[in-house]
Amino acid sequence: MGTPRRWIFALVGLAAVAALVLKPGLPASVTQDTRSVYDLIESLDSGAVVMISFDHEASSLPEVGPLGAAIVDHCFRRGIGIIGLALFSEGTAAGYELLGRRASVFGRSYGSGWIYLGFRPQYTSAILGMGENIGDVFNLDYEGHAVTATALGSRVHSYNDIALVVSVADGSMPTYWVEYAQARYQVKIVAALTSVMVTSYLPYYESKQLAGIVAGLRGAAEYEQLLGHPAAGCRGMDAQSAIHALIAILIIAGNVQGWRIRRSRGHGEA
């Protein structure tokens, strides 16, 4: 590894640290994509039930954690019940911890305000099975109670009783939610994604197979602005903007340097 590459790493680190410490408070607008997800949840009746699936690995938490928290906050604030689950084993504890933490802030109790179903492998059969009977796929919740014995679980039999499914994901799981839940059972799906997945899912959003997309730290920051409660997403956006500006400058400088080298070689050959 050459020294210039290490200098670039150091510069990126310095830019992030400086932005985190100085907090310049750079302006950020809210995109229509994020606003449409916010409006969708805002349009749900108080008392509706939203299913949130934590389909991500632990390594994606810095990105999808603030995003999931913002959506969970919105649901709890509006009195919407949340059924949590995970189709990725690594998302299991992260989802349970997030829901428990935010529920305590909003005074929502386990059983009536939210329940957590836990993890199921074989996402295909899990997603299809819940379209017929959620209790058949998850007979016990994550805490070991019978799902139908909880106040929220007794109200929900299948996707017919679910107003919206939110897949908090860092991979291809929202595709399977579209294929097996939306296409077959016509349930609305929202994808809360890492930024790297956005271009893969925009076609599904444009075709209305996905009801909404909200993505990355920027999506979290936008959602927090709509909620009027800046949190982890907004905190990271200054650093994100600073690093992006630095990378753009480095790309331009690298291209100018490359053009100069090619030009001088051309002159030399002539």
């Binding site: 590894m1 290490r6 790493f9 990126v12 680190g13 992030a16 640290v17 985190l20 410490v21 390594s59 994606s60 938490l61 810095p62 990105e63 954690g65 084993s89 690594e90 299991t92 504890a93 836990g118 993890f119 199921r120 492998p121 295909t124 299809l128 007979n139 016990l140 994550y142 070991g144 595709t175 579209v178 294929e179 097996y180 939306q182 296409a183 077959r184 890492t194 930024s195 790297v196 997945m197 956005v198 271009t199 076609p203 444009e206 075709s207 209305k208 197979q209 993505a215 990355g216 730290l217 920027r218 982890a232 905190r235 990271g236 650093a239 994100q240 690093i243 992006h244 990378i247």
Partner: protein, 199 residues
């Protein structure tokens, strides 16, 4: 988190980032720890959330319908034993056959038919027309049985430009995603661990 937990997490984060200076024993240790923990965690979660409530518990309560799937699952575990490995094919055949039967129609509908319908019917706005032209031009690029000359070649070249835009946007989003992960770790190191960030 307690101070010990925070410090352990911080040191492991630093061990992973030490790879930027070159491969070293601290990075190797953290990497192997991550792999081992991930496998162990998945095993425990699967036992707690699936094997116990869906297989063992029903059988102990006299509900014997779980025995069939348990037996089929057990057959797959015979795969490492050469003498008995053939029995695992029964379970694998069921998984592959059932999986393909479920997946093919669903994928065809969601990924091809619905996408095609939306592309055609969506061509009522400027954006919709750009998408339709982009799809057709990109498809012509992938027709290799006809020479890319004349109007066909122009369309294929246009398709290549559309793909370049897609790759550029995807790469930019990838940078954005990785930067977000770095910011998350720096916030943890400077805020939760060292207490240098004001909230």
């Amino acid at each position: 988190m307690t101070f010990i937990e925070t410090t352990t997490t911080a040191l492991l984060t630093l061990a992973i980032y030490s790879f930027l200076a070159g491969d070293n024993p601290f990075y190797k240790f953290a990497e192997h720890l991550l792999v081992g923990l991930t496998i162990g965690y998945t095993l425990v979660v699967t036992l707690k959330s699936v094997i116990w409530p869906q297989a063992i518990l029903p059988v102990t309560q006299g509900q014997f319908q779980a025995i069939g799937p348990l037996l089929l699952g057990g057959l797959i575990l015979l795969r490492p034993f050469r003498r008995w490995a053939g029995w695992s094919r029964i379970s694998l055949a069921l998984v592959v056959g059932g999986g393909a039967g479920v997946a093919i129609p669903a994928m065809l509908k969601a990924r091809v038919l619905d996408q095609m319908a939306a592309t055609v019917t969506g061509a009522t706005t400027w954006g919709g027309w750009i998408i339709l032209i982009g799809v057709l031009a990109t498809l012509t690029y992938f027709v290799f049985t006809r020479a890319h000359r004349g109007a066909w070649g122009t369309s294929a070249r246009l398709g290549r430009y559309f793909m370049m835009v897609f790759f550029g946007a995807t790469f930019a989003y990838t940078v954005m995603s990785r930067v977000a992960l770095l910011i998350g770790r720096l916030e943890f190191l400077m805020g939760d661990w060292l207490g240098l960030l004001r909230t």
